[in-house]
Structures are given as structure tokens and as C-alpha cells.
């Protein structure tokens, strides 16, 4: 605490000493100033930060008096009224160039004012001091004027006609359209799949869902029926349907050769088809007739159907077990 009090006393005495000194105007020849102002000079509103960079190249022996730099948080006043422009941050950089010294000051001002219409404002002129040969010199960094814009347009405004280049074009919210597009793409995909399914003769994949493939499934269900003779009749009729559907016309034992000519991929099961017609003869037309399909005609029909299904898929039919 004692140390702090001592330091404060020393600082106060130094300031008073400077204040008592005569201030000379810094000659332009001794200072070369370069300023980098914010890119635009309008469109600022409360909360915005404006950065200006001032580079001062000062001939020796002039040295910057750092205590003369503006103080962060200081708010300028104009005719006793706060201007609403406050120094937010300051950075300094010093570079010795031999016979001169370069000081770079980066000043960030924050706007704390607004209005319902655009109004002029300035980044205030700053007075900094240099010291040389025991004398003090004052130098004025020029102010920079800009316009503070209101947050909202005063009065009724049609936003579509407000083509402010600072705000950029008004963008519509694409999300509902994106969502709708996704839904429509989904619907289109489903419709396309449905169309493919229909065009593919109600089969999801090529060579699937043929007459014998569905007959195989039906015969497997029929095998579970309790009445074997009814099941056998239905199963034989189902295979007849598949043969007819495959040929595009009714197939009988006397038209088997023309069927095989039309559908040569069924040639490997020709003997089976002949046996099937023998079974059909016994089941539907001549109960006393003998057939050659063994004691379990339903099982034989299931295997026959599978072999025909292989044929309709262009595969080599599996051998009988």
C-alpha cells in the first residue's frame, strides 16, 4: 500500500510538472503521419467497433510521451455532451529506424449511441505529446468523420426495395423449400420404384417374381392343408397356371413341343413336364391312370416347381434329391 501511494504521488508530481511546462506545436516537418481508416464511413450502429491505425514517423530526438496517449474507456464530449464514441482498446508499437522513430497506434473505438435517422459522428482528434531536449511538443491526430445509422428504418419501409449494399441482398429462408424438395424427391423415388416394380412384371429384381417363383410359395402353403387330395388338386392347377402364364397361352401335353420351342430354357425339365402332365391326367381326368411321380406327389410338385423356377431364372435346375 505504501509503495502504491508513493508511485501515485510520483505520477502526480510528474504530470503536474508536464502541465506546468510550455507546450510547443510539433512542426509538420518533424512528423509524418499515415492513417488507415475503417473501410466504410457509414452504416455503423450501437456496439460497432471502428478501428483506425495511425503510423507516426517522428524524427529524432523526438520521443513519444506515452502518458499523453488516449485512455481506454474515455468518452469524448462535444459541448459538454458525451458523443457516444468511446475508446475501446489501444495498442502501440515502436520501431527505431535510425534517424527517426516509427510509432504505430491501433485505436479501437466503440459506438455507444444511435438515432432514429442517420447522424454524423467523428472518431475524435487525439492530442499526443513528444519530448525533445527537455521540451514538450503537442501533435494533433486528425479526427475522422463517419455516419451512425439507425438500427431500424424510421417509419414504414418496404424491405424488398431497400437495396442497401451494406446489408447485402435479402435472402429467403430456403429451409421450407429444401424440406419440400426432400419430400418430393422421396415421393418421386417411391413412384419410380413402384413404376420399376410394375414394369418389371411385379418383380423387384430381374428374373424374380416369375410365375413359378410364386407357384413355389403357394405350393409350400398348400402342403400344410389337411386334405391331401384337395391340396394336390390345387397344387396341380397352380402349376398349370404357371405354365400357361409362362407360355402366354394354355399349355397341354400335345402342345409341349411348341412350348419348349417358344421357351427353350425349360428344355432341361422336359421329362419332368411330361411327368407333370401324367400326374395332372390322373388328378383331373382319369383317376385310374398311373403317374410316375412317386408316392408323394406334393413333394414332387414342390421340387418340380423349384426346377421350373430355376429354368425361368435362366439357371441350371438343381438336381433331384
Amino acid at each position: 500500500m505504501t509503495v502504491l501511494l508513493a508511485a501515485a504521488g510520483l505520477l502526480l508530481s510528474t504530470s503536474l510538472a508536464v502541465a506546468e511546462q510550455t507546450l510547443y506545436e510539433m512542426k509538420e516537418a518533424n512528423v509524418k503521419i499515415t492513417t488507415v481508416e475503417p473501410e466504410r464511413d457509414v452504416g455503423y450502429t450501437v456496439g460497432d467497433i471502428l478501428q483506425r491505425t495511425i503510423v507516426l514517423e517522428v524524427k529524432k530526438p523526438y520521443t513519444l510521451l506515452e502518458t499523453s496517449l488516449p485512455i481506454v474507456g474515455y468518452e469524448h464530449r462535444w459541448k459538454g455532451q458525451p458523443t457516444g464514441i468511446e475508446l475501446h482498446k489501444i495498442e502501440t508499437e515502436q520501431n527505431d529506424l535510425g534517424d527517426s522513430t516509427t510509432y504505430m497506434l491501433r485505436l479501437d473505438y466503440q459506438v455507444f449511441t444511435n438515432n432514429i435517422v442517420a447522424k454524423p459522428a467523428i472518431l475524435p482528434a487525439e492530442f499526443i505529446k513528444f519530448k525533445a531536449d527537455g521540451k514538450f511538443y503537442q501533435y494533433r491526430i486528425p479526427s475522422w468523420g463517419f455516419r451512425i445509422s439507425p438500427i431500424a428504418t424510421f417509419g414504414a419501409a418496404k424491405i424488398e426495395l431497400d437495396m442497401s449494399p451494406f446489408r447485402g441482398p435479402l435472402l429467403l429462408d430456403p429451409n421450407p423449400e429444401k424440406k419440400r424438395l426432400k419430400v418430393l424427391i422421396g415421393v418421386f423415388a417411391v413412384a419410380l420404384l413402384g413404376l420399376l416394380y410394375i414394369l418389371g412384371s411385379r418383380a423387384w429384381l430381374p428374373r424374380m417374381g416369375g410365375p413359378f417363383a410364386s407357384a413355389c410359395r403357394d405350393i409350400n402353403k398348400l402342403r400344410k392343408l389337411p386334405a391331401a387330395d384337395v391340396a394336390l388338386q390345387q397344387a396341380v392347377a397352380r402349376v398349370h397356371q404357371s405354365l400357361n402364364a409362362t407360355a402366354g397361352s394354355s399349355v397341354f401335353s400335345d402342345s409341349l413341343d411348341s412350348f419348349l420351342q417358344k421357351k427353350p430354357k425349360f428344355a432341361p425339365v422336359k421329362t419332368d413336364i411330361e411327368q407333370f402332365f401324367g400326374l395332372s391326367r390322373q388328378v383331373f381326368f382319369e383317376p385310374q391312370a398311373a403317374h410316375q411321380v412317386g408316392d408323394s406327389p406334393l413333394n414332387w410338385l414342390r421340387d418340380f416347381c423349384r426346377r421350373c423356377r430355376d429354368c425361368e431364372r435362366g439357371l441350371t435346375p438343381e438336381e433331384r434329391v
Binding site: Q233, V236, A237, H240, Q241, N244, S249, S250, F252, S253, D254, S280, R281, F284, F285, E286, P287, Q288, A289
Partner: protein
Amino acid sequence: MSDRQLADWRELAQKLESEINKVVVGQASPIRAITTAIFARGHVLLEGDVGVGKTTLLRAFTRGIGGGYQRIEGTIDLMPNDLVYHTYLCEDGKPHVSPGPLLMSGENLAVFFFNEINRARPQVHSLLLRVMAERTLSAFNKEHSFPHMLVFADRNQVEKEETFEIPSAARDRFMMEIPIVVPDDADIMESLIFDTRFHDVDALVAQVQPDILHFDRLNAFSAVIQDHVQASATLRRYALDLWRATKAPAKFGIKIDGVDINRLVLAGASPRGMSMMLRAARVNAWIHGRDAVLPDDVHAVFHETTAHRLVFSPVYEMRRTEIARELLNQIIQAVAAP
């Protein structure tokens, strides 16, 4: 009748076929159809071009069947009474009346062969309607019956001058109308030209073993076949569907190029026609040694027993043969059994 007797008759039928096949070559299918008609006791109408062997074929069958055989040529001035009697002046200068071809063989008349039937007048066709349907005739104040008679007739489809279209009612009396076409086998065609045994038709027909069948037992045996050979429920449904398809082919999805299928058929097959078809199908099953009719048996006789019974719109009558063949083929393809 035992299976043995059925088999014996089958052998006779096969013997008859083989004998006919020896003298009429390249016509196995029509020969099978005529054999079927004989055992089904149905009249047969042959249709074909000139000089294809229709008459020879029928004469050969007549010889094989045995029994009384009479023949008459269809001419434009033929009148119904020419079939029943003819009058002439005898050596004594007095008029005499003799029985005509229909009456000459009495009850033993087995085959009445009407050559070129479409040259005869409609009056003759009318007489024939009764004779074919009832196998009886009233003449000389007496009822004559011909229980074993089959009418074999032929007509050529090329010539139209001085011919009379056989009315549909007369056509319906024929069990079968069988097309006879020239065989397209080169060897057969060559032998028909160069083989001298085909040059003398009388000698050729004489090669057929006579009286292979016992004509007077055919009626009884035909009934046995019809009783013996069964038609299952499925087959009956199939035959019914075929019949319906001849009446309304459009309902069965049948289409023929250049034909309005809805206007094509004025009348489908008749009940008599379908009954004859089933009779023939039963015979076909018996010939093949089966005890029940299969769809294949129906197919074997479907064209021959049905095509000539269909009545088409007049606009399609000129293309009758071609359209009927296509229609019946498509009916067989469209109707499923089961």
C-alpha cells in the same frame, strides 16, 4: 363288353387305318379323323381342292367298312327324287320304277357317298337333312330306315360356278368337315406322280382289304365306347368353356388380325355339334387306349367337328377357312384346363 373286346376293336380300327394309309399316302391325319367319325357314327364331309384324293379316300374307307355302298354325283339338275327312285322304259315298253341309290341297299346301306355335294340344289340338301339326322326316309308309302348308314360327302372349295353353298343346318348334320390338302413331303409328291399304282384308282382301292369292320355291329360298339370312356368334371368344364368361347370369343380375349372379333361370330357351335365333338373325343381316347377323355382328345377333333358349324358375319364368309382355323387355334390357346 370286356376290355379284351375293346382292344380287339381297337386292333380292327388300327388295321383299317393302316390299310387306308397304304393306298392314300400322306393323309394320316384325315384318315385318323375319318376312322374316329366311323366309330362315333358321324357323317363326314371332305373339303379340298380338285384332284387331291378325296373320292379315293372315301372309296377306300367304304371298302374297308363293308356293307352296302351307294354313290351319287352332285349335279345342278339333281333332284331329291333322283336319290329315292328312278323311272325308265323297260324292254317291254312299259315304264318301270326302281329304287334310287338311297333305297337300293335297304337296311344294309353302310355308306352313302355323295360326290361334289355342293353342286346339288338346296332341295337335295333338304332331303339329306332328314336322312342324315334320322337315318329314315318316307317313300312309296313306307318308312325306310338305314340304321348303319354313314354319309360321306365331298366338295371342292375352289369352284364356285354352278354350285350351291351347303346351308348351315345341313353342315351341322355332318360330324366332321375334314380339309384334305396335298401333302408337302417331296417323296410322297414324287410317288403320286411316278408310282403307277396311283394311276388306276379302281385297282388302288381294290388293294384295301374288304370288310375289315363289321358294319352292322358298329352302332352297338359305338355305344359301348361312349359308355366306357369317361369325361371327368374338369373335362366337362373345359368343353363348356370351349363352347362358350365359340359363341363369344371376345370374352376370352381372342383377337384376329383384320377381324372385328365382336362382329365375327353370328352363331357359335350348336349343342348337337358339341355333343358330336365329345363323341368323337371319346372315340379318340379309346383309339389311344384310354378310359377317359383328355383335353388332347378334344383338341384332336376340335377343328374337324367345330369349324364348319360356326356361322360368321357375311363379310367374313369369303375367308371362312382361314378365319375359322385361326379362331379355333386361339380358342384352344386361350381356354385353360384346369
